[in-house]
């Protein structure tokens, strides 16, 4: 098999552009997804089962259906409904955020429930409200424990962003496919993309490990 390095070099600027968009999409989705995930996770642990039910459904549906379908629904249904036209990047960020939010909600729920009940009681006995306790006592500690699973989720999200090529969001995989389409090649684009994804996830892991050990010693 002759590996066509030349076409990889030819496409390098596009792959770079795609990588930038992949990073941009992932980072914004992570931020939004974490925020939504926190709200949904808090919603799911409400004592009032009726109020918690919609959050429960949200998590079930988003975790139970393929991301691909969610991307289509949002790209062709939700976004045009509000703005009148499709926009792959907007839809991509929304789809990834909403999907990640479901997983992150579970991470938050587990993190919060892993904090010893004594912490809540200690703070409540000082006269702090439930909300104050959550904000100042439970969440800061839960957050520390959530870093490893959140890190995993971020890596998953980074890779999942490759699915956005189906709606032609010009991220990394999109350019990989364009390269394959032009030259009838399979290995060159996919291996190139795989290495870039691996590189990105390694950097992310490294950053997360640093963060984790810094928080640990704190």
């Amino acid at each position: 098999m002759n590996f066509r390095w030349d076409i990889i070099f030819e496409y390098a600027p596009f792959l770079l552009k795609g990588t930038m968009l992949t990073i941009g999409l992932s980072v914004s989705s992570i931020l939004i997804g974490t925020f939504l995930g926190l709200l949904i996770g808090l919603g799911k642990i409400m004592r009032n089962k009726v109020l918690a039910f919609p959050f429960y459904c949200y998590v079930t549906v988003f975790r139970g259906t393929p991301l691909l379908v969610q991307i289509f629904l949002i790209h062709f249904g939700i976004v045009p409904f509000f703005t009148g036209k499709t926009n792959a990047i907007t839809a991509g960020v929304i789809a990834l955020s909403l999907n990640a939010a479901a997983y992150i909600a579970e991470i938050f729920r587990a993190g919060i429930q892993s904090i010893d009940k004594g912490q809540m009681e200690g703070a409540r006995s000082l006269g702090m409200t439930h909300t104050q306790t959550m904000i100042h006592v439970v969440l800061p500690q839960a957050f520390k424990r959530m870093i490893p699973p959140l890190g995993n989720e971020f890596i998953v999200l980074l890779k999942d962003s490759s699915l956005l090529c189906v709606i032609a969001a010009p991220e990394l995989m999109y350019w990989g496919k364009a390269m394959g389409g032009q030259y009838f090649k399979v290995w060159e684009p996919y291996l190139a993309c795989a290495f870039i994804y691996l590189f990105l996830t390694l950097i992310l892991s490294f950053v997360l490990n640093r963060l984790e050990s810094r928080l640990k010693t704190e």
């Binding site: 004594g118 200690g122 006995s125 000082l126 006269g127 800061p140 500690q141």
Partner: protein, 240 residues
């Protein structure tokens, strides 16, 4: 100060407190003893409304805390509580542990909270640990910080739930010392403990509980030297 009337508390089918009546006078130190599972902790937690009671009333300074209209967070600021496992906030330094509630609940200024916090740390002999994290402290030090933290809210009453039972024998003394000091200063206290020495020395009154009832209550010397009930005798013979 505290008046408990016909207090009942069940967990599901399990009735843990069965009609408790008790009064704690201002500046009084009441020691609660009894076998494991007799409901001592639950009793304290009910006073502080950490458990929703199933029946009866609890009055704190004349205020019925079971009344829906009473702000329970307000009540809790008047009632400090110290737990067996300290429940310090591990992500905050000692001084931040102490300052948190005054800042957030009493809304005092940072300077004021910090000044008062340092005073309290001095009082419990830990001024030099202000910026340490709880995990670097010994058990006895942790418990003293927990006491200082509760005192920072300037409560009228302090509840202690086996404050020394998670401690190494060497550290028990230092915590009891702080508690004795508090009692001397006139703090109203309810203390669940297995430390009979403390009960004898500091307690104004001892309550013996078993199976959700108050079996006997009296001044310490009477309870220890002249218990009236069989169950009290049996219990004391084991722990003394």
């Amino acid at each position: 100060m505290i008046k408990v009337e016909n207090l009942k508390k069940s967990f599901g089918d399990n009735e843990v407190l069965k009609n408790i009546n008790a009064i704690v006078a201002p500046q009084e130190v009441v020691v609660v003893i009894g076998p494991s599972g007799s409901g001592k902790s639950t009793f304290l937690r009910c006073i502080n409304q950490l458990e929703t009671i199933t029946g009866g009333h609890i009055f704190i300074e004349g205020l019925d805390t079971t009344d829906k209209k009473v702000n329970i967070n307000k009540v809790r600021t008047e009632v400090g509580m110290v737990f067996q496992h300290f429940n310090l906030f591990p992500h905050k330094t000692v001084i931040d542990n102490i300052m948190l509630a005054p800042l957030k609940v009493r809304k005092v200024s940072k300077e004021q909270a910090s000044q008062r916090g340092m005073e309290l740390l001095k009082k419990v002999g830990l001024a030099e640990k202000a910026n340490a994290y709880p995990d670097s402290l010994s058990g006895g030090q942790k418990q003293r910080v927990a006491i200082a933290r509760a005192l920072a809210m300037e409560p009228k009453i302090m509840l202690f739930d086996e404050p020394t039972s998670a401690l190494d024998p060497e550290m028990v003394g230092e915590v009891l010392e702080v508690m004795k000091q508090l009692a001397k200063e006139g703090m109203t206290m309810v203390v669940v403990t297995h430390e009979m020495g403390f009960a004898k020395e500091v307690g104004d009154r001892v309550i013996f509980m078993d199976e959700g009832f108050i079996i006997e209550e009296n001044i310490p010397s009477e309870i220890f030297d002249n218990p009236q009930q069989e169950r009290t005798k049996a219990f004391l013979s084991k722990v003394l």
